[in-house]
Point group: D4
Chain length 256, copies 8
């Protein structure tokens, strides 16, 4: 029962076509629908905030992932398959054709946008990585932000080899007035803290699962970022480029 | 040596009052100063971003804290003493008088603003808590945001006793177009995830050190927030209300 | 707006005292109320399942706890203060009188039941402890189950000194057809597993924070219970007697 | 020596066919048998509670598993091989034939029931999963419960995409009066807590080893479930669908 | 019903004073007793192995501990209160008098032996500590072993200040043919491993909760001992002097 | 150079056959020998205690392991290669022939004894396992004990299927007067604690890396054993069958 | 802009070829360059301290690593590829030829030195390992120290089989006056502590990821080294031979 | 008995002034001394390396500590009591007088030097702290280094408020050619890594137990320092200023 139906019930009651008891009973049923459609568990987020529905490909076969895509694409404006290789792209295009399907290998993502949901021009964000190993996670972040309509200014592998490696992209980001900066780093994960001390906008730290020994698997970098004294630094879970990108876009969108 | 001094050196060189070697030597010294004043380690952040200098009182005696305040207040526009009781307030006002000194007991904070650094009207943020035990951390967040010029809309103890406890403040926040929502929660820490699914703005989750057994001390809540599937949710360390508030204000400021 | 109000709206619409638009607007507001009162976040659980609202006293002063009780007692049929000493009892009776207020020192609980919510006779459960240190947690479990209408058959300190210490209460429990058995144990926490191998009903293991060295604070007991090969054993968090008691009562209630 | 034998001893003693010493010696031997057959370590559980003997195939070769099955099947009424692929099915049927052997691929289980031990109609339970990756664990739970005679009402992948995805199966479960609900979830593991707040029956949370970063391998989900404030929620170890199913069936059985 | 009683039943049956049914019923009751008295859960260990019943005083008030002692002393030949100060001694002697009650302050133990259960001369063991802080745990071990009839050769604080500090007591121990050596050590816990490389008898390592930083609370010492390559080294939990002493005495007793 | 040699040096010096410098030089060399042979780092253990030198094959290629064996066999009376498959046996016999080389597949061990170092008849020990997966670790323990001259009485897979599965081998062990019992168990690791409560000799618990979820990899079993209240139970690291066997043999040897 | 450029600016200003404003603007730009080239983030370390730029090959394909080498070699005097196999050597020499490229298989390193950056004769260090499995990490340390101009005295596999195995290389190291000793050890990691007690120079402990059970993956060895009471012992992360070698060389260099 | 004495024994034997038995007996005694004085367990370190014997006062009463001092002072040239307050100073001077006893409150140390063991002028080291809370640990390090003869150049609280706070002391340290720099830091512990990137000498990182939430108690800072990519950075355990100071002095001494 949609909003329209509720209106109809009232109209019919006003018109005497329904008695009060029947109207109340029908409206009650409508409540449950409403709870379903409009509140806490409504995850059809792409309608509201432009965040695409994401399917995590890792741990699913291309066949399984393709099957899920096929089932959901009818109901969803936009789908994103993350951690996906070209095998997934082949499977998906074999099932639903290439229309609106884009494969972004650096970000390990397949974007499926059949209704032109990809937004435009809602603001700018910056994406930095400390090393080269951090780039796939950064690309995941940047790509999601782009899908949500942000321009993403990238600066990769800036943690080593001279401060201008860091300063050049950072100055560009500040000049272009980015709404926030995503900083992706593994190992000791100190870069987000340094960047947060240098810019006047929020910094989203993304620890990566690069590292070994005590603090291996990204726990060291995550801990450093959480312990950081630099105000303005917030954190997502290890390797969660998607959430960093989505949050950055939400920040940019509100600024916009 | 200030910028002005560098200018003077150049003027004197142009006027022939200095030879090139002397000018170069003087300017070199100036470099080091510049590096000190204008770059990465310059933490005189209140000049740039409005984030006040914070002194963590916990673990310091009132005397020790008072001594630090006395030493820093000359150089800093604004100081905040966090995790501070009224004993700290007494000690500080005994040392530097009450001028510009405000004690905010709910936030366990003493704000010292001698130069009118507290900003105004840079935007709105929301602050929610799941339980009553989470309120001091939330007040720390809200107060910092207020000092930085935000209006903070509060909704406390909304995790229990009926969804309107949550929905009422949330609707108010959305109506007032908050730039982000801070959600403070201990125990299983599920509220930030729920809120992130309901609003179209970034959510900053603050785990509190409420909880016991496996995941005690806030680790459970922190883990839940980091594992959350809800996009738009970023996290600060356990009980770190200060950083949540400062980041929220930075988000609001950029929107503004 | 209550159910009654919704009815009124419909009646007035039917009576022509309201036009459709106004009716719809009023009913929409009602939706939000309904979501609040009848769905997922509705924690006024005592109405539905007989589980009383619980306030965790630990970490709150008697004054603070008393204040919360005073505020909530009007709206709630029944309140329970857990981890509470006699100081809390004094404070509460000072504020709201002794009517319907019972202090249960072994369970460290204060039960406030002004509307006769305490149920009766919904079934039987068993509560065992391995040692004497586990008794307060067991009493918390037993008392909650009793408040919810269960008869609780106790067998304490059965982990040592001869198997009949265990078998005697266990046989009593089986003879009285308990719906489930709560087993409270610290240290290596092996008792729940033993009991689960002996009875044909579900066993709820409650690890207690008794123990030291590797696995201190109850982690060892919790781990043992989770690793147990004995089917029919489920677990709650360390020292969480309340939840064990409430779940046991739910199991008993359904059997009843 | 069986009970009957003990009777015979007594009869022969009464008849003077045995002297007292011989009778005592024979009865003593009987003691040990009795301890073996009727007490704490008697794990021939399928006789008593209908819980089948389970062999964990993971980490055993099909040959090894087949050999164990072959050895045990003579003595056991019913055997279940969990975490088993079709290779195990081939190996087993090669050894003992197909009589009474069923392979359930979704549950990764092989059920061997030569004596019609599978029970019937002892009650109903509900099984929910948050995501698609949680389904194999849920199927393990549901299948064990079915073997033990329960009807299992399934609702999979209900954690996302609109609340009616959750509400529809939940309402069906409540309408069919399930004795308890198993909720399987990885990542932040919040769903069991939500469900426990919505139903009046016990909820068994099963964390799955889905997740990454801090709290990886299911620790995050397990922690969330243990920290949950929702009464009525009990937990089994990560991925332990078998124990959740067996406990649920025990709850249902007692209700029945 | 004792063994004697079973005999009596048989005699009466043979004498025709009991019919077969009554005899069987009585003997059945006897089974349960037997299970209780002679098998797995029979913890009245002091009868069998000379290991005294121990009550852990830490976390119990002197009153509570005294009450337990008073209740158990009738049934037990020997009781030991561990982690006990002189306040416990006062309380206990106030309740049960000084007869057979000995306070051993270095071991923080009160020994209550009313029936001369303390054994004699079952062998010799060695007890070493690395530092002075480890002595109370070592004394707990030595005292338990003495109660169980061992002579304990002590060598304390041998981890520092010259190898003869270690070699002197070690040579004495070897000359006196100790059955095993207990080595108590905190911090990095390397001493047990060194000793195990030097002696031809088993070494029981006891990690103590001395240490800080990574591996604090004894975890570091425990880990070192478990990782040790030295064969012949076995371990008990942190600070568990009691178990080390009891096991050493069992080893000595068997040699004897 | 032995003690005797030192005597010879002195005799020759007294006899004028050596000058003082030469005597001093020879005696100095003797020092190093002495330190080497008689003190802390003398690991030529097989001479003293019969514990064979062990080479851990896991993580070494057959070639690498073969090379080490070839190098050491000249100097060592006996070598054991643990965690070794038949490929290692082939490689080793290819290098040094089959003389004195025995492959024990159940224990995953290759024993190389060229000088008849394997001892005989020093006593008896018991070895139990809870499950079938624990057998390889148990065989490692039993085999080492056998090499050191013990008779090992085995009882495998006794944790399930009726207490006589446990009692039968246990009674045999007690009747044969074993000096200690090794109990190998994974999962919740409760069996060693049960056995320690039933026998009057020391029990060495060996946790195995069987288990999952919280406490996976054997940490759960290790924790249970360390937390156990059963006196007489000592522990080795996870899967360390070798050390359990060697210690058991040392205990037996001293008894002998 | 280089230093030279700054000089030019001043010369042109003195010569009247630039006005003061232009000079100031140009010098300002120079500042940023200076910050980049001469301060904190200048990682072109090989110019200053002789520490070569290191690329961690593990986790990169030979192609990826080769590409990075090709890009960096123009700008860097010396590059080192660590954790590299011969496949990496082939790829690199295919790209840049063999000139100045050396492959050191024991250290798993490829050294690329086109400008004769490898230094000479800056001092001596010692490198010890406890076992054979620790050798690759030790070789990494020794090789880096050699590249930086140190002579490295090796003593491998000294943790077992007689103290002269340890004493011989140690005496050689002391006689040659090493500036520090690197000690590489896994398992319980006690050797660095022993060595630190014997030598009068700093000891750098390198835990290796050898070990199992509690403290697996090197955590046990790391903890032991950090907990050590031996003064003069400092630590690097697990398996970090590179950093141990570089620090040792820095110590030696300063001595020199 | 020293080497000289051994020579004398031989001379006397050669001269016929001693018979062979007496010579052998005397030399045997010398063995033990040698083992004691020259090998692994000789901890009379102050003789060899100038590292004073340290007694950790924390956890000992002033009386207990005073008693230990009194016992050891006769045998030791120099003693240091760490983590000591003025109460310890009073107790110690009450027992042994003030001669040679110095109390250093900032370092929480009491130095007792009766034989002029404090060395002089062996080199220079630097000591930096990130914050004010880190100063006591830094003073412990600096004071030990001073006792061992180093000049310690301090730079405290340099982690915040402008880079010249860091650069000024750092330049002074480099100008004075320090042999190494100790950097003390809590929270995220990033400063040692930054300093290691700026100086050409080894850096010893000392994590302090400042910090909260994930990584609390110094674990976060320790992890960061171990994960650091900056070569030349080595680490001691949390709060272990003593070891950092002693190692720094050893480095300086060798340079000297």
């Amino acid at each position: 029962m949609t909003d329209l139906d509720a209106r109809e019930v009232l109209e019919k009651l006003a018109a005497g076509e329904l008695d009060i008891d029947a109207a109340e009973r029908l409206l009650r049923l409508d409540y449950v629908e409403k709870i379903g459609n409009h509140t806490v568990f409504d995850m059809s987020r792409e309608c509201r905030s432009g965040i695409p529905e994401v399917i995590y490909a890792e741990g699913k076969t291309p066949e399984k992932a393709g099957e899920i895509v096929e089932r959901l694409i009818a109901k969803k404006g936009m789908l994103v398959l993350s951690r996906a290789s070209d095998k997934y792209y082949e499977e998906i295009t074999k099932r639903i054709g290439t229309d609106g399907v884009t494969y972004k290998p650096e970000a390990r993502m397949i974007v499926i946008d059949r209704r032109g949901c990809v937004q435009e021009n809602i603001g700018r964000i910056g994406v930095l990585t400390a090393g080269t190993s951090d780039i796939p996670v950064a690309e995941e972040a940047a790509t999601i932000a782009e899908i949500m309509g942000c321009e993403a200014i990238r600066g990769y592998d800036v943690g080593v080899a001279g401060i201008h490696r860091l300063l050049d992209p950072l100055k560009e980001m500040i000049r272009q007035d980015v709404a926030c900066v995503i900083v992706v780093a593994g190992m000791e994960g100190a870069l987000p803290s340094v960047v947060a001390g240098m810019v006047g906008v929020p910094v989203i730290g993304v620890p990566t699962s690069v590292g070994y020994g005590l603090g291996a698997g990204g726990i060291g970098a995550l801990t450093t970022m959480l312990q950081s004294c630099a105000p303005g630094l917030v954190v997502v879970n290890i390797d969660n480029g998607f959430n960093a990108g989505a949050t950055a876009a939400l920040i940019a969108k509100h600024s916009h």
